[in-house]
């Protein structure tokens, strides 16, 4: 997942330097992955303010826990896991303070998108996707975001989410089924524009073919 050029220090090297006291290393690491980490936080929380809070919490946590990183997974996986956990923790706290969903998936409200809250979502379709994602239970949303929207493999998503690959696949499949009615009109537009049904390199098996 790392995009860094070969001449640049590796993620592991940066994390090690940070743990050794290098005051700049973690900042470099954050900048390197901030885009994807932001996307994860934003897609899971569906709110830019929540995403910023979650990402900040996650980065501070990673900053402090860098010494505990044992290299058993990629640094990016470790970072993403912290961001996902922070995002879900934030939603969990919020859920505990608010009147929650009844538990019946059919009762899930289609939340109105927050106009103008996402500087990157300038089109109607983007807002529709955001609104559709918000109808998913956060664990499903997290799995779907990682696998379908950010292109992680099921195995990587499994590592990030801390669940089995089967659980990731099932969450993705359930999420897709729930999104289908919300995105049908967008899919039609998309198919007409592209004149091809499926994007290259993406298949159902990637995330839901259990």
């Amino acid at each position: 997942m790392s995009d860094q050029a070969s001449a640049e220090p590796s993620d592991a090297s940066l994390l090690r330097r940070h743990a050794d006291g290098d005051p700049e290393a973690f900042g470099v690491l954050f900048k390197r992955h901030s885009g994807r980490l932001w996307a994860v936080a934003l897609r899971i929380t569906c709110d830019p303010d929540d995403a910023a809070d979650a990402l900040q919490d996650a980065m501070i946590s990673a900053f402090r826990r860098a010494g505990d990183f044992r290299g058993e997974s990629a640094v990016t996986t470790w970072l993403h896991r912290i961001v996902v956990n922070a995002s879900l923790d934030l939603l969990r706290r919020r859920s505990a303070r608010s009147v929650g969903w009844s538990g019946d998936p059919d009762d899930l409200p289609v939340l109105e998108p927050q106009q103008g809250t996402d500087s990157a979502s300038g089109t109607e379709s983007r807002l529709d996707v955001d609104a559709a994602l918000r109808t998913l239970p956060p664990p499903q949303r997290a799995a779907l975001v990682l696998v379908d929207m950010l292109g992680y493999s099921v195995a990587d998503a499994s590592g990030i989410l801390g669940v089995s690959e089967g659980t990731v696949k099932s969450r993705c499949a359930r999420g897709r089924m729930k999104l289908l009615p919300h995105l049908s009109h967008l899919r039609s537009d998309y198919s007409r524009e592209r004149n091809q049904p499926v994007a290259d390199g993406v298949s159902f098996e990637q995330g839901g073919g259990a």
Binding site: L42, G103, P139, G162
Partner: protein, 349 residues
């Protein structure tokens, strides 16, 4: 990670035991694999959001604050910054943590641009330098207000330095009084509101802490012309002159004619003789308030007193002000407008 979801997050149909059952589920719902694949394809096509600069700056600031705190590693400076404690300036000006925090918050808010108020707060955050959202702008974007510890520390340090420099300038370039006349105006900027505490005419009881404090005052160019002791002497009307003479006899006159207890520019002080009376052995002296300084110099005609002693006279709290040939007893509210003069006695020769 999924064991402690809120109940509403659990999907009872989440776990599919096998691929065959999943096929059944999709099939029974009338959903084809191709349709789900289209959903995936569409989701993939959605471009990734771009992190707003304000968020990046906010998190970078938080990380910088973490790095600074880590570097400080529990030093007193870091502790003060984290707890918002103020810093006691050498001139007595206390710079509150709130001021620094407000400045830092304003800085963070500016960086976030115009915002709309979301008004939400979170639970206990892990971040030491917690960033809060606030708003008030009209753009509809959410903004952020950061309180980076580094910024707070910098602002506080700046305030301390500025206050110290201002006080030093006011004291060194101000209208120093002279023996020739009451040229003293009594104005002082930074030090006007506080009764500065520092070690001055500390006899045997002088502590290392007060000595270092006096040295610090000297290094800032603070050269008070007299200090106020608190001897605890119980002056009586019948014995006032003799009590004062006794004290004066144990307080050698400084070379400049000023009081013996005036610390020099370097923070050193003239120490009274070892045989000074117990009542005169005030271990800690205070710089006078502006009002008191003006009052004293008003009474003495601009001449520096030999001593100013906060004590009691006839059982009542009072300042006893002595020159070489005169003594005044005034109330604690002595000002140039109202000396609250209790008594005045010529000492003679």
């Amino acid at each position: 990670m999924s064991g402690d979801w809120p109940p509403e997050w659990d999907d009872p149909e989440e776990e599919f035991p096998s691929g065959a059952e999943q096929q059944d589920a999709t099939g029974s719902a009338g959903i084809g694999e191709a349709q789900l694949a289209e959903v995936t394809a569409y989701l993939v096509s959605v471009p990734a959001p771009v992190m707003p600069d304000a968020v990046a700056a906010r998190i970078s600031a938080a990380l910088a604050a973490e790095a600074a705190a880590r570097a400080a590693n529990g030093t007193q400076t870091a502790n003060d910054a984290r707890t918002g404690d103020g810093t006691q300036a050498a001139d007595g000006t206390r710079t509150g943590g709130g001021t620094g925090a407000e400045a830092a918050a304003a800085k963070g808010g500016t960086g976030a641009g115009a915002t709309a108020d979301s008004g939400r707060t979170l639970g206990t955050p892990p971040a030491r330098a917690r960033v809060r959202r606030h708003g008030g702008g009209a753009s509809g974007h959410h903004g952020f207000r950061s309180i980076p510890i580094k910024a707070v520390t910098s602002v506080m340090a700046g305030l301390v330095v500025i206050a110290g420099i201002g006080y030093g300038i006011s004291r060194t370039s101000g209208p120093a009084y002279s023996n020739s006349g009451p040229a003293y105006s009594g104005s002082s900027s930074a030090g006007s509101a506080s009764e500065n505490t520092f070690a001055a005419a500390a006899p045997a009881a002088s502590s290392a802490a007060s000595a270092s404090s006096a040295a610090g005052a000297g290094s800032l160019g603070i050269s008070p012309q007299f200090v106020v002791t608190a001897s605890g002497t119980k002056y009586q009307a019948a014995t006032l002159a003799s009590q004062v003479r006794t004290r004066l006899s144990h307080s050698p006159v400084a070379s400049n004619g000023g009081p013996s207890s005036v610390p020099g520019p370097s923070g050193t002080s003239s120490v009274p003789a070892a045989g000074a009376s117990k009542t005169a052995a005030a271990g800690v002296a205070h710089a006078p308030t502006t009002a008191l300084r003006a009052c004293v110099l008003h009474l003495t005609g601009g001449q520096p007193p030999r001593f100013v002693d906060r004590a009691t006279y006839q059982g009542d709290p009072a300042y006893v002000i002595a020159t070489s040939n005169h003594v005044w007893v005034v109330g604690l509210g002595c000002t140039t407008a109202d000396e609250e003069l209790v008594t005045s006695v010529a000492l003679g020769s």
